[in-house]
Symmetry: C2
Subunit: 428 residues, 2 copies
């Protein structure tokens, strides 16, 4: 196989960016018009995903195409940016080469690794088959399939409906809570009129959390409100209960087995192998260490940003793994790169500015923690919706998502309640 | 496994409908409010597909969710309709039972089989792996993947770009022509700005037809116009050229081999096994014979409608396999069933009213054959768009499709240019 992307003319500074998530994309946008650079943006998918709404694709509220866009389309207006659809196999930081799966290499002068995280099963990778996590569009489509097939199986076998109508979400962070709330709402609001042999409102939605509380990163008063809202929606919240096994029948927790057709894993993440590529020791979940200027320690020309990096915030805590944090890091590294090209002194160390935490619990209810200001309820829900629409990547999606939300709200018609793939029981 | 759907109270007439395409769905809608009936609508998918726009899902113009809707949602307002997600294995017309895959059975008083057609390879089923056809959402997603990966591979290996950028469509009926026109437009209009190593406008799109002409069901003057429009779009149209093999390298035709990364099969259909289930002799492509009242000959309580039936039209021709024909047959059988329940004389034999044939060739160009009136060009294109939006099943989709078309037209941004699934070369 020949070199897949001819390296750019050597008179330009070769910037290679791995990962087109929020961090990598922000970096590329910030530097896209700088003619001194030849930028190659590598991703193993052809699309950027708007992660904060991925749970809505997994629950049939939004179609995948409204929360994902071709990376090429997002970068087409920057003539010095080349998009490369490929998987990175390793980095040779001595030879300054990124090696792609398939054998080709890309040479760099500056490398930025922004490869994010994946879900982790704490050493129990065999659980993945029974309890899928939610990071990709394929994950979302598979989870959507399972959820919808649970209702279908219950309708087909009303005598065995209980397990088919049991949905277990493991992990009560924002994603777990949002999944639980949306599934409960599907069962109670959207679906009851469509089934004849079962009452979908009898579905059990369990949110299981090993820690002592849901939403540990939120203010306790907001977490308590979210807990009440979940219970009102019919979600059974179980804290202090650890999952000890996932299998074809459901899950086993410290309190006993739960028969469930659908189990979704929202309990833990593991960093992508940025640290491994560089030969650095990762932290507990594999995140690469990062110097104050977001370079990888010992590699002044390699930056590690976004969820794959462990960046200190305040009082020993880490910068949270949320979109605004990733974007700030991407924008910061753009400033460092530009200062280097200009021969100017570097900007001061990266400082994360926390703009707030948001989460939603079904329709009409959300929580927002701005620090001094804490909001909950209907107003918070409106702000949550407005913020997410504002931050959506393209104008087309802003209108389409708004429209689909109005429709789902007013007409109880989720936009994408499709089961694709086989319907045979063995498979799902 | 228990009986999947408890049979309805015996005081109601049990109507079982197999297939929720245009024919089956129209029948169910026409009878949905008749309280004397207990209707069971069986489909092996959870969604109804708007087939006339499926090619747009295959070419990334529209997302699958805008041309497909949950069958349960479409029938939820009819309390006497039960939707059954299941595959039919056979029919026992003596015992009046439909047997489902998995072993369960549904008893019927009246049965309607509306199971449509699938693509056929004229005895060469091994070609399916290399030349997918377009009937399901999964087909559309797979074809979309192949088309988009063709451009990606060419960008990664510019030296081998020629085969990657060769797209072969086999069969020049409306679907083949619409696929060819849309792919040519993607290559020439939507994509050029996004690639750096290749010129996507160099893509070859070949429309190969074994017969002497494209669009044989249209008036020759309209077919000639379509041919000119295709050539202007850059499509190479080859008539009188039969495909003799499909393999991993592309196709072989009577004129020689063509190396092509993407081959799409739009050349032939084969009826679903309605005739086989009833022990009847099917026609050349397996369609069940149908009596003038659309019952299966010898089975007065079994109707065969839509594409799976061979229904005579005029001068020995058959009713065409298009949506309006299927809907007319569904509505007709509803009248027959209602007359029987009323004890009234049956309606006169089914008579197909042809409302016209439409097809589009890229943006701004379409052909419409109303019989006396023949339209082509820009006005026809507007009418084509308006007609398709009008006939879309739900209001949400009407607005969403309109919006996406405007966006694709004005901004060159197709709504759903996503590659899902693995990106490894071996896979496709």
């Amino acid at each position: 196989m020949s070199d897949p992307t001819p390296n750019p003319p050597s008179d330009r500074h070769r910037l290679v960016v791995v990962g087109a998530g929020f961090a990598g994309l922000q970096l590329v946008k910030s530097l896209g018009h700088d003619k001194r650079l030849a930028i190659q943006l590598i991703d193993r998918r052809n699309h950027h995903i708007f992660q904060p709404l991925l749970y809505q694709a997994a629950t049939s509220i939004l179609p995948p195409s409204q929360i994902a866009w071709p990376i090429r389309q997002l970068t087409r207006k920057y003539p010095n940016v080349t998009t490369v659809l490929a998987e990175v196999a390793s980095v040779d930081a001595i030879a300054r080469q990124v090696r792609l799966a398939g054998g080709a290499s890309l040479a760099y002068d500056t490398l930025v690794i922004a490869t994010g995280v994946t879900h982790a099963y704490f050493g129990h990778d065999d659980w993945a088959a029974f309890a899928p996590g939610l990071k990709t569009l394929e994950d979302a489509t598979q989870i959507r399939r399972r959820i919808l097939l649970g209702f279908e199986r219950a309708e087909a076998e009303p005598a065995a409906a209980e397990a088919h109508l049991t949905f277990v979400i493991v992990g009560a962070g924002p994603t777990g809570m949002e999944l639980a709330g949306t599934i409960a709402e599907l069962a109670r609001t959207h679906l009851p009129d469509e089934f004849r042999n079962i009452d979908t409102r009898r579905a059990r939605v369990l949110l299981i959390e090993a820690g002592p509380t849901i939403l540990p990163t939120f203010d306790p008063s907001l977490a308590a409100y979210a807990l009440r809202a979940l219970v009102e929606l019919g979600v059974e919240v179980r804290t202090g209960e650890a999952v000890t096994a996932c299998n074809a029948d459901g899950v086993v927790t410290s309190a006993g087995p739960i028969a469930a057709h659908t189990v979704i894993w929202a309990a833990g993440v593991e960093a992508s192998p940025a640290a491994t590529w560089l030969g650095l020791a990762g932290d507990r979940v594999g995140r690469s260490p990062a110097a104050p200027n977001l370079t990888a320690p010992g590699f002044p020309d390699v930056f590690v940003i976004g969820d794959t990096a462990s960046v200190t915030w305040r009082e020993g805590t880490l910068v949270p793994g949320i979109a605004p944090a990733a974007k700030q890091q991407g924008a910061y590294v753009a400033r460092v790169v530009r200062a280097r090209l200009d021969g100017r002194p570097p900007p001061p160390p990266f400082r994360y500015r926390h703009q707030g935490s948001l989460a939603t619990i079904g329709r009409n209810r959300a929580i927002i923690d701005f620090g001094d200001i804490k909001l909950k309820g209907f107003l918070a829900w409106w702000l949550w919706g407005a913020a997410h629409i504002y931050f959506l990547i393209t104008a087309r999606s802003r209108l389409a998502v708004t429209w689909n939300w109005i429709w789902a709200y007013a007409r109880n018609e989720p936009a994408a309640r499709l089961i694709t793939g086989p319907i045979t029981p063995d498979e799902g």
